[in-house]
Structures are given as C-alpha cells and as structure tokens.
Symmetry: C2
Subunit: 510 residues, 2 copies
C-alpha cells in the first residue's frame, strides 16, 4: 500500500515518469476514441472543418483565384475558422453577427474616413485617434447590456475589430473602397463555404438537438425514478448499489444542469431555416419552458434520492409490504415519462392518457395496500413494548384518540396546488377502523416511508404539469395526430381523485 502511495505521489521519480509516459498516450487515445464514440457527429464536424479549410485554401493554391483576390483571401480563412460552428443555427447566428458587424463597422469607418480626408495630417491623426477611442469605449460598454450580451456579443466584437482594422489601415492607404470591396468578397466566400458546409453537408440542427435532448431528459428522469424506487426496496443493500446510485444521480443531473445549454440551443434553433418554412414559427421557447418544468420535477427526484441517503430509514420488513405497489407507481410514472419522451421524439400528438389509467390503478393499488396492511404493523418487534406501555397510558388516551379523529386529507391539498386558495371549511372525517389501526404503526418507522410515499405521489401530481407543457408544445409545434385512435381516454379528475385518496392514507400513516 505504502509503495503504491509513493508511486502515485512521486511521478517526478524516474519510475513515475516512465509510467506516466507509457500511460499518457493510451489515456489520450481512449479519450479521443470516447469523444467520437459518444457522438459521431463530432468526427463529422471535424471532417467538415477540414474540408472547408481546404476549400478556402484553394483561393491561394489555385493560380487564377490568387491573382484576383490577392492577400485578402486571409479573411476567408479567418471567417471559416471563426464562423463554422457545430450546429447550423450557431453558424447562421455567428455568420449573421459577423456580417452585420462588418457592414456596420465598414460604413462607420467609411464615414469617418470621409470626414478625416478634409483635415490636415496632425488633426487627422488626432481625429482618427479620438474616434478609435470613443467607438472602442462605446461598443465595449454596450456589450454589457444583457440583451446585447446574449444575442449580439460576437457581432459587437467583430464590429470593434473591423472598425479598427479599417480605420487604422486606411490611414496610409488611398484605395480604401477597393480594399473594402475585396475584403467583403472574400468574407462572403468564407461565409458561403460555411453556410454550404453547415446547411448541406451532414447538417447538425440545434433544433433537433434541443428536441431530442428534451426527450432524452424525460427518459433520464424515468430511469432515475425507477432506479431510486428499486433501490429503496432492495433487500440486499450491497448489490450494485454504486451503479444504481450513479443512474439516479445521472438522471437528474442531466436535467438540473441543462439550463444554459438549453437556452443557447433554443437561441440557435430560432436561426435555423428548416422549421420556419413550415409556415409558422416553431415554438422553441416552449422547449425552454418545458425544461424549467422538468427541472422543477427533478427537485422532487433529488428529494426522493435524499430518502435513500437519509439516516432515518423505515425498516426493510415494513418497506417490503409496500414494495409491489410503490414499484408499480414508479413504473407507471416512468412509463408516462417515456411515453411523453417518445411522443416528442416521434413528433406525435399521442397523449399519455392511455397510460393514465395504469397509473390510476397503480395509485389505487398503493392506496389499498396501505389500507389493507395496518394489522401487520402490530406484528413488528415493538408490539410487545407497545402493549405494555399502552396499559400505562390508557387513561390519558382519549385526547390522543381525538387527534386521530381529526386526521384530514393533508397532502391531498398538494394535489390542487395550482388552484387558487379557496380554503373553505374542511370537513372533519369520521375515522374508520382501518385508519385508527394504522396509527398503531410505529411513528418513527412510518414517518420516513410516509415521506417517501408522499414524494412519489407528489411526483405523480407534478407529472400533470409536465403533461400540460408537452401537450402545449405538441399543439404549438403541430405534431402529427396519434396513430391509434382507440385510446381509452381516462379523465384526469378520476386520476387525481385516486391520488388524493392515496394521499389521505399516506397522511394517516404519518
């Protein structure tokens, strides 16, 4: 062990260096291979950049073109390197920014040149210097405005660059217009190559990426929830715990970390022509909204994961009683998420209503499991102690019983969390035998499970919000109608009702 430690901590020793020298290329190669395997489009993009650069270098390599454009071909190279991005939308956005920045800067530089021409050498130099200072200051300052920073940062940068290049280089040159024209030509050639490469040669669309990544996120959440519930009910805690926790974490991390990528993808997607020709503006903002709702859902997933890591745990024996129904609910929630994912993936209207009845059934099964099992709790190890103490506390028990009597549908209110507060007088429910029996479940043992179950129910509720947003997206994006017309439409109210009944029972267990 000590030797191992030394090996790891003294790479400067000869042995360590050799070891590193041997390992580094292999690690590099593995990295390179992984990058391409994870997303083959990356290799294609690299090939595209290589081809575009070769194409642009033809301007130099071929004699006649060289005669025509001269040294300005450099600008084409620069344009290709800087503008050609991974997705078409990003390329278009950058290309547009570059073009607008260049044109604005060119016009302004020309205007200033016109004024400067009238002046003497010294005052001309002063004038040019002052305008360089002022334009540099103003443009840099403008870059701090959030809306500019978000959409046109690159354009302003190019504006500053081009303006300065033209202004200072035109100071000693006579044929400014000619230079500007040649430069514009080469930039246009560069842009044309970029557009051709990004729009017609294996194009990557930001819109598609956003679209499919949204579906992926739904699936990741589904996996995360399934794995989480599975692990909660796993009897042998040692088996594969690490990989299962990885799945859980990966599932919600993908969603939680997606904000900035999502927003820039939506921005680039709005530049892409592909979806605009459909005659309506594709609702990219809906994806961003859906992403926000998914992040909200993911918070519940994080909390559910928290139940696994918490120190207070309901004993396995008690958990096992609810293994089947809980697993079923999680399976159904995952199914709905997967159905939504595939609805997005296939651009189909196919609503998850067909799965609602399964979820409905699952919730009811959990409900009746909680209802039917109360007697079993009495059989746990503390039953004896309980009955002993029960004798002592018998005389004081009337007030405790009164509390039981007023058990109300607490978490059910959560189900209506989007409705307005109209807290009318709540009815006091008459206690049923099963509810009272349930209270004999040990408080300390039931509480963590109750939290777990109520999170599961809350998830089912939040699912509703996701469904709403996916439906909205489907409507705005004109998804195809579903193939199967024989879907059994289950009204959402019935489903909510069952969730509410379940919640009541969960509250009772607490």
């Amino acid at each position: 062990m000590a030797g191992d430690f030394a090996k790891r901590n003294l790479p400067s020793s000869t042995h360590g260096l050799m070891e590193r020298a041997r390992r580094t290329p292999m690690a590099l190669w593995r990295n390179l291979w992984k990058v391409g395997r994870d997303d083959p489009r990356r290799a294609i993009h690299a090939l595209k950049v290589g081809s575009a650069l070769t194409l642009v270098s033809l301007l130099y390599l071929l004699e006649p073109l060289f005669e025509g454009l001269g040294k300005n071909a450099m600008w084409a190279v620069m344009t290709v390197v800087v503008v050609l991005e991974f997705t078409a939308g990003a390329t278009l956005c950058k290309g547009f920014n570059r073009a607008v920045g260049t044109v604005f800067a060119g016009s302004l530089a020309f205007f200033i040149e016109c004024i400067a021409e009238e002046l003497g050498t010294v005052s001309r130099a002063l004038f040019v210097g002052a305008s360089v200072f002022f334009i540099g200051f103003a443009a840099t300052y403008v870059r701090f405005i959030p809306i500019i920073k978000k959409n046109y940062d690159y354009g302003v940068l190019i504006f500053i660059l081009t303006f300065n290049l033209i202004t200072v280089s035109s100071f000693r040159v006579q044929n400014v217009i000619e230079i500007a024209r040649d430069r514009l030509y080469t930039i246009l050639i560069g842009c044309a190559i970029c557009l051709f490469m990004s729009l017609f040669v294996f194009p990557n669309w930001s819109g598609e990426e956003l679209h499919y990544s949204t579906a992926d996120k739904l699936e990741a959440l589904a996996r995360s929830i399934e794995a989480c519930v599975m692990e909660y009910f796993q009897e042998d805690m040692t088996i594969d715990q690490k990989s299962s926790r990885d799945t859980i974490k990966k599932g919600y991390r993908v969603v939680l970390d997606s904000k900035s990528v999502e927003e820039s993808l939506a921005l680039f997607a709005s530049w892409e022509p592909r979806h605009s020709r459909l005659g309506y503006r594709y609702p990219w903002k809906q994806y961003v909204k859906l992403g926000a709702v998914l992040r909200h859902f993911a918070y519940t997933a994080v909390a559910l994961h928290g139940c696994l890591e918490s120190e207070i745990q309901t004993p396995q024996s008690v958990r096992m009683l609810f293994r089947e129904p809980c697993t079923r609910v999680s399976r159904e929630v995952s199914k709905v998420l997967r159905e939504l994912a595939s609805s997005i993936r296939n651009r189909q209207h196919c609503s998850p209503d067909v799965l609602f009845d399964h979820l409905h059934d699952a919730l009811q099964a959990l409900n009746s499991a909680i209802k039917s099992q109360p007697r079993l709790f009495l059989g746990t190890k503390n039953a004896q102690a309980n009955s002993m103490i029960a004798a002592q506390t018998d005389q004081r028990s009337s007030s405790g019983a009164a509390a039981l009597a007023s058990v109300k549908t607490d978490i059910s209110a959560l189900l209506d969390f989007r409705t307005k507060r109209d807290q009318t007088e709540r009815k006091t429910l008459k206690p049923t035998l099963s509810k009272i029996a349930m209270m004999s479940l040990e408080f300390s043992e039931a509480l963590p499970f109750a939290a777990f179950a109520s999170l599961l129910v809350e998830m089912a509720v939040r699912l509703d919000l996701i469904i709403d947003h996916v439906k909205e997206l489907a409507r705005d994006a004109h998804f195809k109608d579903c193939m199967e017309k024989h879907d059994i439409k289950i009204d959402v109210k019935g489903y909510k009702e069952s969730a509410r009944t379940l919640a009541t029972n969960v509250a009772c267990v607490e």
Copy 2:
C-alpha cells in the same frame, strides 16, 4: 382593457410605432445607465479598451513606427480586441492561449513549409492542401475533449487560425521567416498593451470577484431565510408580499445559478499572479467546493419557500405561538451566515463560534416553546369536534396510545447525517404527559408547521457543513487570525444536542 391590449399587440400601427420610437431611446438610455450604475467597473473596462485601442493605433498613426512594422500592426489591433477581457485572469488565460497557439501553429507551419519547399509546384500544392485538411480535422476534433474544451478551447482555435494563415500565405511568399518575426513582434506589442492595461490600470481580479461573490451569496441566503420566516409569520398577508417573495427568490437564485460563473472565475483566478506571490497556491478550488455546499443549502431554502407556497397551511393562530422562537432561530442562522460572510470578506479567521451559543439558545427556546405550548392546541376551533369524536373512538384508542408511546427521536438522526450508519437498537422512550397532550394538536394543522420547523432545524444542521468549508478555506487561504481573543467557545456538541432535542419535539408535533 381591450384598447390597452390592442396597443400592446399592434405596435405596427402608426400610434404604436410613434410610441415605440419615443420610448426606445429612453429605455436604451435607462439600460445604459443601469449597466454602469450596477457595476462601475464596466465603464472603467470600456475606457480601458478604448485607451488600449488608441495606443495600438499609434503604431499606424505615428510615422516611425509605421515604417518599422508595416501592415503587420493589424495583428496588434486584433490581439487587443480579442485578448483584453474584463478581468486580469481572463486576459492572462486568453493571452497565454493565444501565445501558445500562435507559437505551436507557427512552428508546425514552418516545419511543413520546410518539407513543401523540396517538392514541385503541383505536389507542393497537394501536400499543403492535405496538411491543411488534416490539421484542421485533428485540431477541431481535439476541441471536443472536455478538458481541452474547458481550458484550451481558445488556444486551439487560434492554433487553427494561425496555422492556416501562415501556411496558405507562405505559399506565395518567399520571406516567411521575416513575416513571422514581424507578426510575432506586433502580437507581442498587442499582448504587452493588454497585460499592462489589465494588470496595472484599475485591474479587476477574477479572484476578488470570486471571493466577494462568495460572501455576497452567504448574505443573500441570510436575507432569503429571514424574509422567508418573516413572511411565514406575517399576520397581514397583503403587505409587501411581492417584494418579500422577490427577496426570497433572489436570495437562493443567486446561489443556484452560480455554478458556471463560479467555475470560470476560479479558472481565471488561478491565472492571476496577485495571490501566487504569497508563497502558496491560493485555494481557488475551495471556493468552488464551498459554492457546491451553498447550493445544497439553497435547496433547503427552496423547500422552506415551498412551505409558503403550499396549499396546506397551519392556521395563523397556531403559527403565532411559535413566531418568536422561529424568527429567533432564523435570525441566528442568518447571523451565522453573515458572520461567515464577513469572515470571508475581511479574510479573518474569526469563527462563528461566538454566535453558536446564540443559535444554541434560540434552538432551545424553540424547543421549550414547543414543549410549553401543547395545551393551547386544545383550544383551537376543532377542540369541540375532537372531544365529540373522542367519545366514539374511546374504546379503540389503546392502540393509538401505543403508537404515541413509541414516538422516537426521528429527525435527530438527521443531525448525524454525516456519521456512519450504525443503527443500533433504538430505545423506546416512555411517553411524557406533554407529548401526549401535544398529539391532541390537530394532525392536519400541525403537519405543515412541523415540516417548516424541521426544515429550519435541518438548515441549522447544514450550516455546520458550510462552517466546516469556510474554516477549511480560511485555513488553506491563510486568513488572518481573529482580533477578539475573548470569544466564548461553545462546543458544537452542545449545540447539536439542543438541535436534537428540538427535533424530537418537532417529530412529536408531527
């Protein structure tokens, strides 16, 4: 209303256009003013860029320099525009990337040129074209490797750009070495101006920004928690609710959204020379770790905020009973957070131990408030109904009482959440009269408050983790020792004990 709607939706009408034309400059001006007022360093940075550009344009404007460097002065302009960033660290990082990229590209281009010189015209063109393609492909592919993307993306971009420019431009030019030398000079001049401007003229340090933003985040959390608890106990729900919710949301949003900014600031900070001269590597990574812990803490703040927005609410009358102690706990938690913030801000070791006893007292006060008030619950509006139903359920109450008997210290286990799982047999506590009386508090009314209180307690627990990280940071960053040596050191165990006792009571209320 309808007219207003039309106005807003038909800006294309004449009136709308005029209105817009009138408003836009004003809005722009307000925006510009706000940008500068929010952070005056932005205006200073803009002035610096203007000055740097003017300085660099002197290469053109002054006769002798122009004779010397010729048209290559363009490269200095380009360097200034692209490299000069807001903070010193970012400028250094970009400047380093640019320098290394340029040098590598230049060497490679020179090497390829040497080989190409031996070939005939056609085969030379083919060779250059092929190398352009291959290098372009390889470099673009390498940019997808995460570690390269994170640290050297810009350098690789510059490498591609420079390599292509040199290779293709050298194809027709004889004096490559000379060109390369002149270009390197001008780039060095540009870099020198950038370094001078960013290091010596009103420098902005990424490190400082990271440092103070961490303190700011602690303070924002403190504000958020205070506002949250204040609103929870506010009697008049209409007063200032919006602004208070804004404070709450802003407080935790600042923390939740900080990940990427924090990471890049830490990256840039590690480039800054200022802290390195202290003789040890400044622990920028500690800030990133502390940020992660703060985000974790912020999740609890989000959950606490969720208590305000939930549809189930403990009645004001019941809440009011705990107003004082809860507000006190939140005040003490905020105080500790503020103390940590000021410890970071002043780079002082001053530990928050002196505040621990206050928090300890506050937790105990909440504890005894919960203990001393149980009778009052019986006085709520449902007491009558309770006693009525109590009569009916009297015969079944023994099992309910048994459940009460086994109430155990649940949430207290949370307090040890970082200790290993060593779930030994838990002792069954004998119920005290007060506990049983407490159970007569209505279940539905107590539950939300119990959730609120336990979140508050959990916060006090997580505070411990934050304190640990701040202490670690203080140690690694060699903060000054505290001025006051007469701090009353309260051992953390005592504080935890009190939190645990409180948690027991919270669990009982549940």
